[in-house]
């Protein structure tokens, strides 16, 4: 009851004109940041932070909270329209979103992405408000062994992404793992593969690398068909009906839970959650072979999950002063700057600020839904631009995004290098997603593996004697062999239906050929 009362008071603060204006402005700017490849929620909040210093603490937090939510959503817009994820969290969305656009169903994909994001965000906020304590306890139960097994499980998603391109997929994944070893080795303080460049001590910056892989390589591919006029001949603004949306509710719900859960872990963020969810949706689907060909499920799963990480990432921050994501770390700075020390005492010392922030997260998601809805027509109109203009825009934004985060030229060089790498890989038909996934998780796997072994006195049993770790290892094995098992099932089923082995195999290969 007390909670409800506090929340209502929080809503009261949010529903002043300053409050609503702050949230709406945050959402609007957040969408622009999310849209731009390279700029995401973290850099958005960081870049806007200095402008919030003169504001009162509550207003500043409402603004930044809105920005965080919206930037986590808007990466999907470019992922769908251009095949270029605007943020790392939207990388999985491009897998089905972009093919949907090519089929002329951009409007549907954009609407589903928005709808899933709003629901994911709202569910995550409910989690945060009602279950902050248990969420933090769960986060504490993750030690190095658990993080290692979770990351390993995340890596096995590659198996489902590559389909029949098994060998090519693994070549690319190993390349990604190799690249993720660049940088100062935290255990010996020795720089690895940095070629004496101090800028590389902290590793290959992930965001510029991703911008290069997707945006620059896409633009380079576009350059080849400059004369072709437009990207697609017809763009439909059609928005899916309630019946189609209703079918997605199961997926959205499950993945909102997955996202909320992963969001509360300080070591895992939206960039991981989107892949885990995409994998989950595909595994549980009755027609896994259709994933990647442009179906709405493939958009709903990662999008509900990545927005669900937003609110719960604030749980360890508010409860213990430990940020649950890179963006939450910047918000921690905002709190301190305004003289607020997070932790159990914050709820006693400044309940108005805390509950206004919690309440505003509900409001931010709803405002995001409204602004996003009106945006859909605008985004699809991008696609009516001639390819030349579109390509120029992509190049411009890519440079902006790569340079804008840290203002260092090395990030621009990384972006261009990865752009050419991505272009070559595309030309030889290597899949790009395994590379991105390996870059996201490579460091996490290695870092936690070594740390866990230090703790266990070099005994590898630590990974199976810890129950949570064991669960993720089993999931990893299942996930790794799932495509094989699915194939066997299909063959058996075909045989039962009286087909020859050749026919059955043909059917299976058709299943994975897209």
């Amino acid at each position: 009851m007390e909670l409800l009362q506090n929340l209502l008071q929080g809503l009261e603060i949010t529903f002043t004109w300053q409050g609503i204006l702050a949230v709406a402005a945050g959402v609007f700017i957040g969408i622009l940041f999310g849209l731009t490849p390279g700029l995401d929620a973290t850099s958005g909040v960081a870049l806007m932070l200095p402008f919030t210093y003169p504001m009162p603490a509550t207003i500043a937090l409402l603004f930044l909270g809105g920005l965080y939510c919206a930037a986590s959503y808007a990466g999907s817009i470019t992922a769908i329209c251009l095949g270029v994820p605007g943020t790392p969290a939207a990388a999985a969305t491009a897998l089905d979103g972009y093919p949907l656009m090519k089929k002329g169903r951009a409007g549907e994909a954009l609407f589903v992405s928005l709808y899933s994001s709003v629901i994911g965000g709202l569910i995550s906020t409910v989690f945060l408000v009602l279950l902050m304590g248990p969420l933090v306890k769960m986060a504490l139960s993750f030690g190095p062994a658990e993080y290692f097994s979770l990351a390993l499980f995340g890596l096995t998603v590659i198996a489902s992404l590559v389909g029949r391109q098994f060998i090519k997929g693994f070549i690319v994944a190993v390349l990604g793992l190799l690249i993720s070893t660049v940088g100062m080795d935290a255990y010996t303080s020795y720089p690895r593969f940095t070629f004496g460049i101090p800028e590389l001590f902290e590793g290959i910056s992930f965001v510029p690398a991703m911008v290069g892989l997707f945006a620059v390589s896409e633009a380079l591919v576009n350059l080849e068909k400059l004369g072709a006029g437009r990207v697609v001949s017809a763009v439909a603004n059609r928005i899916p009906g309630w019946k189609e949306i209703k079918k997605l509710h199961g997926i959205i719900l499950i993945n909102s839970f997955i996202g909320s859960f992963l969001g509360a872990l300080p070591g895992v963020g939206a960039a991981t959650a989107c892949w885990v969810s995409y994998n989950q949706a595909q595994r549980m689907s009755k027609h896994p072979e259709k994933f990647g060909t442009g179906i709405l499920e493939g958009v709903a799963a990662p999008e509900s999950s990545n927005n669900a990480t937003v609110s719960t990432a604030l749980a360890p921050l508010l409860a213990l002063g430990v940020p649950g994501s890179a963006t939450a770390a910047v918000l921690l700075g905002a709190l301190i700057m305004h003289g607020l020390q997070p932790g159990p005492e914050l709820f006693k010392k400044a309940p108005d600020v805390v509950y206004a922030l919690l309440a505003s997260l509900f409001v931010a998601n709803i405002i995001m839904g409204i602004l996003g809805y009106f945006g859909i027509r605008l985004w699809t109109s991008f696609l009516k631009l001639p390819i030349g203009v579109l390509t120029a825009l992509i190049f411009g934004f890519a440079f902006l995004g790569a340079f804008g985060v840290r203002y260092t030229l090395i990030d621009v060089i990384i972006m261009l290098a990865f752009g050419f790498l991505g272009y070559i890989l595309r030309k030889f038909e290597f899949p790009l997603p395994p590379l991105v996934l390996a870059l996201v998780l490579g460091f996490m796997v290695e870092d936690n593996f070594r740390r866990a072994l230090m703790i266990s006195n070099n005994g590898a049993l630590i990974f199976v004697t810890k129950p949570l770790s064991l669960v993720f290892l089993i999931l990893a094995i299942l996930s790794l062999f799932a495509p094989y098992i699915q194939t066997q099932w299909a063959i058996r089923k075909a045989r039962r239906e009286g087909k020859t082995v050749e026919e059955a195999l043909e059917e299976v290969s058709r299943m994975f050929s897209d």
């Binding site: 622009l32 960081a46 200095p50 504490l140 430990v322 700075g333 301190i336 003289g339 203002y407």
Partner: protein, 338 residues
């Protein structure tokens, strides 16, 4: 007709995003440029400083603790020094990028860097382009004593329990980095007590404390400021300050427990390039010292759990050089340096 309208809207969106994204960069960029034409002429007429905007360069990203300190110092310093002060984030290379930037600027006091304890260990590592001797020390600003954390239900109720246990079994202590100040003080504690700890590096002190709270790790060496947000959730066995800390009076110091050699601080301060005239350093010091008397500064210090670490230029330099000698010795013993 229709498509024309769309192009306009798109152009608008593009322009808007450029403005939004460019804000941070532009702001920093503007203030950087006038410095280029600077001549050493002004230094001769020592009285006139500062006459143009000052840039505080920090190696951490916006929102990180040291960035928060820099921005508040900039805001309050504008009032006391009378010129605009901007903050430039030069992130990367374990802080060496920001220091390299400092070295490329003229030694005129208009480029001030934030630095912390790590300068004496990181800059002594192999391959580091500069050493702590390439800088002048303007003012030490904050101190954050080191603190030894165990779980709140841990069997180790006192430092004594902890060290006794360490004699009979291997105890793992985690904390930020390898060869870091936290690593060094843990090593020193073990040496003084006649035990050996296994050091487990983490990406941040907070990560290590979370692992202690979750029962994955025996203890963590972090800073006392982290305790401000975790009171009641975790136990601190000892703190490395000279006297007990105001907001955590229940925590004993290493000194009173019989380890006076461990009285040392994680600190943050402002430095400039070597060769900056003494008068200019003094003016910078005076300006920032006055800024640190502002009530807003006091409030921030309290909420961040930091202690006042004020030291004037000469004392600051002395402290850094002394610390560097100890670090060098320990890093060699630990086998991290030859």
């Amino acid at each position: 007709m229709k498509s024309k309208k769309f192009v306009w809207v798109l152009a608008l969106v593009f322009a808007l995003s450029l403005v939004v994204a460019g804000c941070g960069g532009g702001k920093n960029g503007d203030k950087e440029s006038p410095k280029q034409g600077e001549t050493p002429k002004q230094q001769a007429q020592e009285v006139k400083f500062p006459t143009k905007p000052i840039t505080i360069v920090t190696g951490s990203s916006p929102g990180a603790p040291i960035d928060v300190m820099a921005r508040l110092l900039a805001k309050l310093g504008e009032k006391t020094l009378g010129v605009p002060i901007s903050v430039l984030n030069k992130v990367g290379g374990s802080g060496t990028i920001a220091l390299s930037y400092n070295q490329t600027q003229p030694a005129d006091g208009y480029t001030v860097n934030t630095e912390a304890t790590g300068i004496t260990s990181i800059l002594q590592m192999a391959g580091s382009p500069y050493t702590y001797k390439d800088f002048e020390y303007v003012i030490r600003v904050q101190m954050d004593p080191f603190a030894l954390y165990v779980a709140k239900d841990s069997p180790y109720k006192t430092l004594d329990d902890f060290l006794k246990a360490a004699k009979s079994k291997k105890i793992r202590v985690g904390g930020y980095g390898k060869g870091s100040p936290h690593n060094i003080i843990t090593y020193d504690l073990g040496k003084k007590a006649g035990v050996e700890f296994e050091w487990v590096p983490f990406n941040s002190g907070n990560d290590a404390i979370m692992n202690v709270m979750g029962g994955h790790l025996d203890a963590a060496m972090s800073n006392i400021s982290a305790y401000a947000s975790k009171k009641g959730e975790v136990r601190v066995l000892a703190v490395s300050s000279d006297e007990r800390v105001n907001f955590a009076p229940e925590v004993p110091t290493f000194k009173e427990l019989g380890y006076p050699e461990l009285t040392r601080y994680h600190w943050r301060g402002l430095i400039v390039k070597k060769g900056t005239p003494k008068e200019i350093i003094q003016k910078l010091h005076d300006g920032f010292k006055k800024a640190m008397e502002d009530p807003e500064w006091k409030k921030y210090m309290e909420s961040s759990g930091m202690l006042d670490g004020y030291l004037p230029p000469d004392k600051f330099k002395e402290a850094v050089y002394a610390q560097a000698d100890n670090d060098l010795k320990v890093l060699k013993e630990m086998g991290l340096l030859k």
